[in-house]
Amino acid sequence: MQQTVSKGYPKRESNIIANNIETQVPPELSHWLDSVAMQRDKQAFTALFQFFAPKIRRFGIKQLGSEAQANELVQETMTNVWRKAHLYNVDKGAATTWVYTVMRNASFDMLRRIKAKNEQNLGDDIWPIDMAQDEAQSEESNFGDHLMEKQMLNYVNTLPPAQQAVVKGVYYQELSQEQLAQQLGVPIGTVKSRLRLALAKLKQQMGEQYND
């Protein structure tokens, strides 16, 4: 295990530029996180633990002021890394940034518990660790597409071209049916019937999945 870890370590030279993430962070970190997420890979977790635990402990001593609290922070942070690794998304940032977020959140909540005897955990609400659910990149959750715009567009694109043009004109370009008829050079009755057909077809397609 030591070998696996050490090969990922960057050279210990002081001239490594702090803001160049690529040169400092072992590229294995995100693979390890992935292996934990996908395969519950204990070896990969052990490697992550060996990289991060001493640093988290150091951070904890600085933030929380005692060795015991620092160890608790290691336990808390690494437990969350183990349990929530699937929330990390390699496309959205470095593994170190994600683990930092998990650690800072745990530390914030611990500090509130110590100082204010407050058991309410707020860290993950204030600083979301769910990169998968953030913004548009979430294919798995509906949250990033809660108006179903992307999904609707997929459906619309399966329509025959003539119907597509009408639907896109009315719903995406917000043209009136008259304007559209003029633009397409067809009678308004044709626009209306194409729209009716298109909507029926969309309804049918969506009904297969959203049957309520």
Binding site: Q2, V5, S6, Y9, P10, R12, E13, S14, I16, A18, N19, I21, Q24, V25, A37, R40, K42, F45, T46, F49, Q50, F51, F52, A53, K55, R58, E67, V74, Q75, M78, T79, W82, R83, K84, A85, H86, G93, A94, T96, T97, V99, Y100, T101, M103, R104, N105, S107, F108, A116, N118, Q120, N121, L122, D125, I126, W127, Q133, S141, F143, H146
Partner: protein
């Protein structure tokens, strides 16, 4: 268009986790609405992560912590390449036990249902609340003329966080702040002597500022304040007892 943002210092403190909970929540709520600050926070987080997990900075800190084992840089190289020496054996055993305990626990169950957006209804309008507030309850709304306020059920020393609604055409009499007051405009707009504010604007005022917010269309704000506000002009000074209300 958001024009008023937290300062870089505030964002750094936010990223470091150094701000009090209610201030962190109002900053997070702004960041959620403001792409510019979200990008800034992302950068600051990357930097903070590099610092916390920086290999090159290990030496000084480690030397302070004798219990963590022998810590000369040379020695770390030895550990990395040759395995663990006796000094670190105890630590290694602890680590092993911790790893075993952690990996025995199951993964968090992926919630199949998307996170519901928390909404409230104020004056007939639905307003979605910031994500940072989602597990914090709201106390009952209390009204006073065109002002109404609901405190956040959040225990944060002397700081108070509230949702404040000012109805159409309402205003808060000219006042100053003994401590500080942070306002995040969630919906609507208001004006004061210093400018016009729209949804997403983040306004941090302290005792140096005096202002009289007026809203034409009505507005809903998230506010955090450290002390009662103090009314400064004419008749409105009679209102100073209600400064406690708004705070």
């Amino acid at each position: 268009m958001i024009k008023h943002h937290p300062t870089s210092n505030v964002l750094s403190g936010f990223v470091a986790g150094d701000l009090p909970a209610s201030v962190a929540i109002i900053v997070a709520s702004h960041v959620e609405l403001c792409r510019e600050c979200a990008n800034h926070v992302q950068q600051l987080t990357e930097q903070a992560a590099m610092q916390a997990f920086d290999m090159t900075a290990d030496d000084d800190w480690l030397n302070d912590q004798v219990q963590l084992g022998d810590t000369s840089p040379q020695h770390i190289n030895d550990i990395d390449h040759d395995g663990i020496d006796s000094n670190d054996m105890e630590l290694a055993c602890d680590s092993r036990a911790m790893i075993d305990a952690i990996t025995a626990s199951p993964a968090q169950v992926k919630s199949a249902v998307a996170q519901t957006v928390t909404e409230i209804e104020v004056a007939g309008q639905r307003i979605s609340l910031p994500r940072a507030m989602k597990s914090i309850g709201l106390r009952e709304w209390q009204g006073l003329g065109k002002l109404s306020r609901a405190r956040l059920a959040l225990d944060d020393d002397e700081l108070r966080a509230s949702l404040l609604h000012i109805d159409k055409g309402g205003s808060v009499p000219c006042h100053t702040h003994k401590g500080f007051e942070i306002t995040l405009l969630l919906q609507g707009s208001f004006d004061d002597e210093m400018g016009h504010y729209t949804a997403g604007d983040f306004i941090w005022l302290d005792g140096d500022h005096t202002h009289q917010p007026i809203t034409q269309e009505g507005c809903v704000c998230l506010t955090v304040s450290s002390d009662a506000i103090h009314f400064t002009q004419g008749m409105s000074q009679l209102l100073n007892p209600i400064g406690r209300f708004i705070y």
